[in-house]
Amino acid sequence: MGISPVLWQFLMKWLNASALFPREASTIAPQMDALYFFLLGMTVVGVVLVVVIVAVFSMRYRKSVHPVATQIEGSTLLEATWTIIPLGLFLVCFVWGALLYFRIYNPPVNSMNIYIVGKQWMWKAEHPGGQHEINMLHVPMGQPIQLTMISQDVFHSYSIPDFRIKREVIPGRYSTVWFEATTPGTYHIFCTQYCGTNHSQMIGEVTVLSPEDYKKWTEESTSGMSLAQNGERLFASMGCNACHSGNAAARGPSLAGVFGSQLQLANGSRVQVNEAYLRDAILNPSQHITAGYSPIMPTYQGQISEDGLIDIVEYLKTLNTNYRVQQTLTTSESDQAAPPATGGANQ
């Protein structure tokens, strides 16, 4: 038994880590574990039930003690029992699971928004203050964090097991998930959707800090400009403000306070303006013509990176008045030296 000491060592290591269940490091985790234990209980009971039935019958009716079988047609009562009881249990699982699902995928309104951009094979996090991190994520404890995620290439999936959250990161559209960390520490980030060669290298660490530590961290690692400020610069340099100037005569609709509003579109439909809508309106403008305007806006598909889009979206979210728009307009007109489309290159 040469293997046994090795195995023993592994077992020790494992038992010391007592890694039967992941740590509960978010507000969702205990709720998820409750459901997990319910399902686990159901499974154990079910399996034990089957095993016991089979074992008992095998004992009592094995050929040596019960040489002649008695034929039984069946029993509607019994069959009804084991149709209805499992059905009931499964429906409980359904309802419970559904409640949890909607809780995890519907962020609270007061949550702080962090953008995640996934690409082969790295995670980029963008904090509202403009802090960028690669394969890392620093978050404050006790504060709901909404992750607004998008992929630049293929499907990825952002998973933090210790928070019990996971969401596919989809190319070409935002997906969101939220969590509220409860214990400081560092936890794994995995990409769980197979995404090519270095799929298993697309991992990272989320660091949960106390609010004051987080504040310190943001000040240390600030890039000087917030996402909204980057967005503002981009908005001007790409000449968006030429049309979206907010003047009554402007060729484009005013964007002040547009975020979160209900918009009447030219094709008659009404839409709720959110990040996803703003992003899509920049890339496929003709799909989202505001009523009363003509489809003259060019598409920015391929001219602006996902990071640039995030910056602009963040800018538009902060845009409550057109005052600064007109300011930047005049300034950008005053110095034509600035290259028109530096959109892709504002990392």
Binding site: P285, Q287, P295, P298, T299
Partner: protein
Amino acid sequence: MDNAIAPTEPLMPHETAVHEHEEHEHVFVPQHRHHFETEEQQREAGSFGMWLFLLTEIMFFGGLFFAYLLYRNWYYDAFVAASNQLNVSLGGANTAILITSGFFMALGVWAAEMRKRTLLVWMLVLTTLFGVAFLGIKYVEYKEKWEKHHIPGASFDISEFVNPPIDAKTGKPSQNPLPVDAAQKTQIFFFLYFAMTGMHALHMIIGIGLLFWLIGRSQRGDFSAGYVAPIENFGLYWHFVDIVWLFLFPLLYLINRHPLAH
């Protein structure tokens, strides 16, 4: 009038030939496979099998039809503009041709059931001719698309949708110009157009191949002695291919014939 013929009507030859495993309660015919109890059982098995195969065909095209439905609703303007590039008269003519071909096929089945050898052969020949005519017209259409660079892929060109040619008579653009981002979506329409009509054409080509084989055998009189199953089953296939086109035509060619009205 009731044209039902009992399958055991002692019309067919080789009554003497008897399979070792056949019970003598029914007549043995040459095409009868030994593992079937009766020839009728075999015939019904054959047509049932054919129908099941057509089910798979329904689901096969079903996937394409769903993709069409989805993107038509997402990119309606692009689909309208692209669809107006298709030649309705050619498409309509093709529909008529295909229906005619199907009509002759049906007559062919009848001829086989009536055991009219020459008529059967002629009907199959006509079916083939109209089938070939259909493919010919399709070739013309594809060629036009090729010249206009409307084949999806590297050489795909959207200029015609961004600034449409000026109509000589009205002096106005022949259709609404599309914004670039919408125009790019016409490629999806053309992809679906080529995928769907291409799949359909492929089925036609296979069918025509089978037709040649059937014509040869009917020449030999194989199907004019009471054994009509192959003709019937091929008929089912051919009519199914017709049906697919009956949907493809309005969905691809007639999305919205008057875009300028909007």
